[in-house]
Amino acid sequence: MSEQKTKLLVEHVTMQFGGVVAVNDLSMEVREGEIVAIIGPNGAGKTTAFNVITGVYAPTNGRVSFDGECVVENYPHGKMKKSYLGANGDMFHEIKEPTPDKLTALGMARTFQNIRLWKSMTVFDNILIAKHMKRSSNLFSAAFRFNSAEEARHRAEVMELLRVVGLEDEKDDLATSLPYGKQRRLEIARALATEPTLLLLDEPAAGMNPQETGDLTQFIAQIRKDFNVTILLIEHHMDLVMDISDRIYVLDFGRLIAHGTPDEIQRNEKVIDAYLGVVEDAED
C-alpha cells in the first residue's frame, strides 16, 4: 500500500467560523486506488473537511494537495490573525482559494449529504450537464450546432454511464421522481460523468435500509474497479465502512482522534468511547 502514490494530502487544515473551530489541525493522506472513510459523531466536522477539500470553503489555515500539487492553501491573516484559535498559525504563507469548479476540472468530484440533483431536469440531462465542463465549444459554435459531433459523443457517454449504474430505464424521468436509493446512485453517476480520479462521497448511504446499503457497498466497490477512481467517503453505516474501507480516519469535535485499518479502528479505545460504542448499542 505505502508504495502507491499519494492522491490527496491534507496538511494541518483548520476551519474556524467566528469563534467555533469546526475542523482543528486535520492532517490526512489518501493514496491512489484506496477507499478511505472519515467517520465520527454528528458535528465532528466531517462535512466541513469535505467542503474545504473541494473548495467550497477556504480553510482558515492549512494546505490541500492533489496529485502532488498544492491546490488549496491559506493562513490566518487580516481579521482572523488576532482571533485565530487553532494550531500551526505560522506554518503557511500563501493564499490559494480556487472555486470548486477549478478543482472538479482537476479531477475531484463529489456528491452531497442532502442530495443536490437539478430538480426540473430529467435523469439524462442531469448527467449530460456534468459533461458541460468537457466541452470544447464556445457560445457561438454551440448555438449554431458546430459542436454536434462532440454533443453526440457526450450523449453516447452519458447513455453508457446510465447503463453501468443501472438507470437506463429511468433516463427520461424527472430526477426527483426517482426513489431515494436511485437518486443517490444518480448523484454518484453525475459525479462520475466529470471523469474524476478522486471521488468524494458525503454519506452515500444516509437514509437507506440495510438491503439498499448492501447494494450500495457493492456498487462503490464496483465503481472503484470500473472507473479506476480513488474514493474518500463520509459514512455512519459502520458495516459499509468496515466492509470496503482500506483505511479510516476518525474525527471528534473537529480533531483527528485515530486513523488506521478497519481492524485497528474497531479495537481503538478512544474511538469506541467517542463513537463506535454508541453505534453498536443502537444497532443491537
Binding site: T99, W118, D125, N147
Partner: protein
C-alpha cells in the same frame, strides 16, 4: 435514443414551419392593411408586440433560465436605441436634429453604404447598426457585470435597477449633448415606416415585416442558445448553484455569458423599438418599461420562450388596442364618458393582470414550449399495465 432524436427533429420542424407561416402572414398583412384602416391597429400591435416579445425573451434568458433576477433591461434597451439612432441619422438632417448642440458623430452607416451599393447598402447599414446597438449594450453589460454579478437575487435586482436609472440620467445630461442630444429626442433616423421593397415598379411595404423579422431571427438565436450545452448549464445554475459549481461549471463565467447575451438582445430590442416608434428619447426608457417586460415574462410563464412571446403580444394588444375604448368613452358599445375616462384603462388592465396571475400561477405556458402543445400526452406505463 433514436426515438428521442426523431422526436427532437420533429419538434424543430413544427417550430420552424409555424415561424415561417407567421412571417408569411405578416408580410401579406403588411400589404393588405393600410395604417389608416380600422385594422391598422393590428399592424401597430404586431410591430410593438414583436419588439416587446424580443425584450421579454431576452429577459427570460436571464431571469427565467439562469435564475439571475436583473431589472436593468430598460437601460440596455436605451443604449441600443440610442446607438442605432445616432448611427443612422442622415447627414442632411443631422443639424436639424441636434438643434441645440454641435453633433459630434457625423456619419450614417446606411447612407454611407447606400452610396456604394444602393438599396442593398441601406438594408446592410441598418443591419450593421442593429448589431452595433446590441454590441454596445453587451459591452456595457460586461462592464457592469464584473462587480454586480457577485450579488445574489434581490441585491442584483436593486443594483441593475440602479444602473438603468443612472444610464437614463447620463443620457439626458446636457454635457453629452453633442452625442446624445441631451434630453431632446433623436429623430429622422432609419425607421420602420420608411422601409419599402421595390420589385418591378410595385412598392411593397415592409414597415411591419422588418421589425417582426428582426425579432424572429433574434428569438430563434436565443432558442438555439437555450437548447445548447450552455443553455443546460444556465438551467443547472438556476436549479442549484452549489451543485452546478461542484460539477465543474464556472459560475462567474456562465453568469457573465448569460448577462451579456441577454443584454445584447435587449440592445437589439431597444434599437428595433426606436425603429418602430421613429423616435429615441431617454425619458421613454424608465424602470416602468422593465416592469412591463417583467410582467410579460411572468404572464407568459417564467422559463418558456413561447410563453414570453404570447405574453407580450397579448399585453401589447390589450393595452394598445382592445382596451383603448376604456379611455375614450366607448367600450364594447357602451357609452359612459363619466366612467370611461383617461386612466380607467389602466385600472381595468391591472385587475385583469391580477386575475391572470392568481389563476394562472405559472403563467399561460408554464415551462412548456410550442412543440409541446402538438405532442400527445405521455402514456403512463402503470396505467397501461392495469388495463
Amino acid at each position: 435514443m433514436i426515438e428521442n432524436k426523431s422526436q427532437k427533429r420533429k419538434n424543430a420542424w413544427i417550430a420552424f414551419l409555424c415561424v415561417l407561416a407567421f412571417l408569411a402572414l405578416v408580410f401579406c398583412l403588411d400589404q393588405w392593411i393600410k395604417p389608416t384602416d380600422k385594422l391598422g391597429m393590428l399592424l401597430i400591435v404586431l410591430q410593438k408586440g414583436s419588439v416587446y416579445a424580443l425584450a421579454a425573451v431576452s429577459m427570460n434568458l436571464l431571469n427565467g433560465y439562469t435564475g439571475l433576477f436583473s431589472l436593468g433591461h430598460a437601460g440596455f434597451m436605451l443604449l441600443g436605441a440610442y446607438t442605432y439612432a445616432i448611427f443612422t441619422i442622415p447627414d442632411k438632417s443631422r443639424d436639424a436634429v441636434y438643434q441645440y448642440f454641435d453633433a459630434a458623430i457625423r456619419f450614417s452607416i446606411p447612407e454611407k453604404l447606400s452610396q456604394h451599393m444602393g438599396g442593398f447598402g441601406t438594408a446592410l447599414g441598418v443591419f450593421i447598426a442593429l448589431v452595433l446597438a446590441g454590441l454596445v449594450a453587451a459591452l456595457m453589460a460586461w462592464l457592469i457585470g464584473l462587480p454586480v454579478l457577485r450579488l445574489k437575487s434581490d441585491y442584483l435586482a436593486i443594483a441593475t435597477l440602479g444602473f438603468a436609472e443612472i444610464i437614463r440620467a447620463v443620457f439626458q445630461w446636457s454635457k453629452l449633448g453633442p452625442i446624445t442630444n441631451g434630453s431632446n429626442l433623436l429623430k429622422n433616423f432609419a425607421r420602420a415606416s420608411k422601409f419599402k421593397l421595390e420589385i418591378a415598379g410595385t412598392k411593397l411595404s415592409l414597415s411591419t415585416f422588418v421589425p417582426v423579422l428582426i425579432a424572429t431571427v433574434s428569438i430563434t438565436l436565443i432558442v438555439l442558445i437555450v437548447n445548447s450545452t450552455y443553455g443546460r448549464a444556465f438551467k443547472a445554475i438556476r436549479d442549484d448553484e452549489v451543485a452546478a459549481e461542484a460539477m465543474g461549471i464556472n459560475l462567474a463565467k456562465h453568469k457573465m455569458i448569460a448577462f451579456v447575451t441577454s443584454s445584447f438582445f435587449a440592445g437589439v430590442a431597444g434599437a428595433t423599438l426606436a425603429m418602430v416608434l421613429s423616435i429615441a428619447q431617454a425619458n421613454n426608457f424608465k424602470s416602468a418599461m422593465t416592469y412591463e417586460i417583467l410582467l410579460m415574462v411572468v404572464l407568459g410563464g417564467i422559463g418558456s420562450i413561447t410563453g414570453s412571446v404570447i405574453g407580450s403580444l397579448l399585453f401589447v394588444a390589450a393595452s394598445e388596442w382592445w382596451l383603448r375604448g376604456l379611455d375614450s368613452g366607448k367600450f364594447l358599445g357602451i357609452e359612459a364618458p363619466n366612467i370611461f375616462r383617461n386612466g380607467f384603462r389602466l385600472v381595468v388592465f391591472s385587475v385583469i393582470i391580477m386575475i391572470v396571475v392568481l389563476f394562472f400561477r405559472e403563467g399561460i405556458m408554464g415551462e412548456k414550449e410550442l412543440p409541446d402543445l402538438f405532442r400527445k400526452k405521455k402514456k403512463d406505463p402503470a396505467k397501461e399495465a392495469q388495463s
